[in-house]
Amino acid sequence: MRAQMFAPTFRAGGTQHVLSTGLIPDQGSMGVDLSPTIVPDPAGLEVFNSPGDKLWTDSRSPNQQENQLVDVRLPPPESIFYRTDEETKTVPIQLWEGKVLDVHKDSGTMDVYLLAKIGNVPDHTGEISLEWVHSQDVDLVRPGAIFYLSLYKETKRGSISNSQELRFRRLPSWSKTQIERVKLEAARLLARVQEKPQVG
């Protein structure tokens, strides 16, 4: 991937372009007014694409792989032309956004409400042992807390394993500005609502 600087008025129409030092995945041609907020490519972030000089070939065009099939001792074509880097791949099975309904300290479990993020899966409830909670998240477990339960298949160095990650949502602390805004908004809301008369 190459670093690029965009000329300020490169785009036809003269739209001023935000100066950016972002690296654009596989961007070969100048002149396309690409957003400066496209993913950059910090070193090591290989999950993005790096097709290099790879062509998505015409299905009818001569396939070099076929030539190599002449010698059956060669490895299958895919591994020659589409060899991937050695890296961890994660294939999602399901991602649940969960809410803690109740915590049972005596039994070490929590009642949870689960909302599926992938596919058309209805909401579920269940009971999860607190042992599954990441040690650094233990203090975050309380009724109402939100967590994410990710179930996935992990491929590492050719070996596939089932993996899961349960992490609790972390929120920043209240800021002075936010607290002031809450107070102002509270007063505004209160002023909008009247009381119903009482009987008796």
Partner: protein
């Protein structure tokens, strides 16, 4: 779910309870095309608020809805209520009096607005209505007259039985601990404070009969139902022959004097189930207790809890999570309808609704 048939005649009253496995909503017809909606839940098959879907199917226009009550702010009772309010702009919107204080509205602002990130969906729904609805917003507490009108030559009144003043104070004290006090304090998710003493239990008086809508009000010291059954104004109202059982039929939502002081003997009852991991309501004991008190009781869905997801997902999930159950395992509605002046309610069940 099939059609609901035709709507009520002008001289008929009805109350219909809608419920998936999580959530409930109620539509009440007072006569002469006057409707009251209480709480809201979403139909799992079409994503619409259940009451709105019902009214559309029986050809009732939004202008006929005179009041919408959010009996409390819990997620399972207010999903889609902001859409109800939006679709019925002429209706008054009533919420629990626990919010009738700066701490109460601060709770809504903190957890329902976008000032900070941790919006709780229930608070968000209420916040959306209170912050944007043009007028006709009201708080209701114990003895608040939510709605009054003369319909079919009868004085009809909808009265709130709760929350009491003590309950309001108690709730606010609890809510205060979740309000941001000083910079640097952690933003926490707002839990549903238990037991529920903040809910608005509602009495709908038709003159010679009434219905009692118990919301999720629980019994707790002298704050919840105990306060209601010892309130001479509440007890002095017309006894109800139909009851939407409080808190999904739980023991904590029950008080023996509800049945003796507020209801006619052998009233009809309806309730919604609640699937909650290890604890599903109503329990077997709850069902026995309820059936011993009423003429007949009905539940909006069978609460068949079988998980509904692809096999590989279920297998992986059950490695970590026990008692996996579908929330919206079925959707149903229980309708009680009768002509004014009649004693007997006609009961109709829709969708997954069935006898308890």
């Amino acid at each position: 779910m099939g059609e609901y048939g035709s709507g009520p005649a002008d001289n008929e009253v009805e109350f219909t309870l809608f419920g998936p496995g999580y959530g409930e909503a109620i539509a009440v017809h007072l006569g002469d095309g006057t409707w009251l909606l209480v709480d809201s839940c979403i139909r799992p098959d079409n994503g619409l608020p259940a009451s709105l879907d019902y009214l559309q199917k029986i050809n009732v226009t939004p202008a006929s809805v005179k009041a919408i009550v959010a009996s409390h702010w819990h997620d399972d009772h207010v999903r889609g209520i902001s859409k109800l309010a939006q679709e019925c702009p002429e209706a008054e919107f009533i919420l629990s009096g626990v919010f009738n204080d700066i701490e109460g509205t601060a709770f809504l602002a903190a957890y329902g607005s976008q000032i900070a990130a941790p919006q709780t969906s229930g608070a968000k729904e209420l916040y959306q209505v209170v912050s944007t609805k043009a007028g006709r917003l009201y708080f209701a507490t114990n003895r608040s007259a939510i709605f009054e009108a003369t319909i079919q030559n009868r004085k009809m009144r909808v009265l709130a039985f709760s929350p009491t003043t003590k309950a309001q104070t108690e709730w606010r004290l609890r809510a205060l601990s979740f309000l941001p006090q000083s910079p640097g304090g952690p933003i926490n998710h707002a839990p549903e404070l238990k037991p529920n003493v903040e809910a608005v239990a509602i009495h709908v008086d038709f003159g010679d009969d009434a219905i009692l809508l118990g919301s999720d009000l629980e019994d707790y010291g002298d704050l919840g139902w105990a306060a209601v059954v010892n309130d001479h104004v509440c007890v002095g109202q017309t006894k109800s022959s139909a009851y939407k059982i409080a808190h999904h039929g739980s023991k904590t939502g029950d008080h023996p004097e509800i049945w003796t002081k507020l209801l006619t003997s052998k009233a009809l009852a309806s309730l919604t189930p609640f699937n909650k991991g290890s604890n599903n309501l109503p329990t077997t004991e709850d069902r026995k207790r309820i059936k011993s008190q009423v003429q007949d009781a009905f539940i909006t869905s069978s609460a068949s809890k079988r998980p509904a997801m692809p096999g590989d997902q279920l297998k992986r999930l059950t490695d970590i999570c026990k008692n996996v159950a579908t929330v919206n395992s079925g959707f149903g509605a229980v309708r009680f309808r009768k002509a004014l002046g009649q004693k007997t309610w006609e009961v109709q069940l829709f969708g997954n609704a069935q006898g308890l």
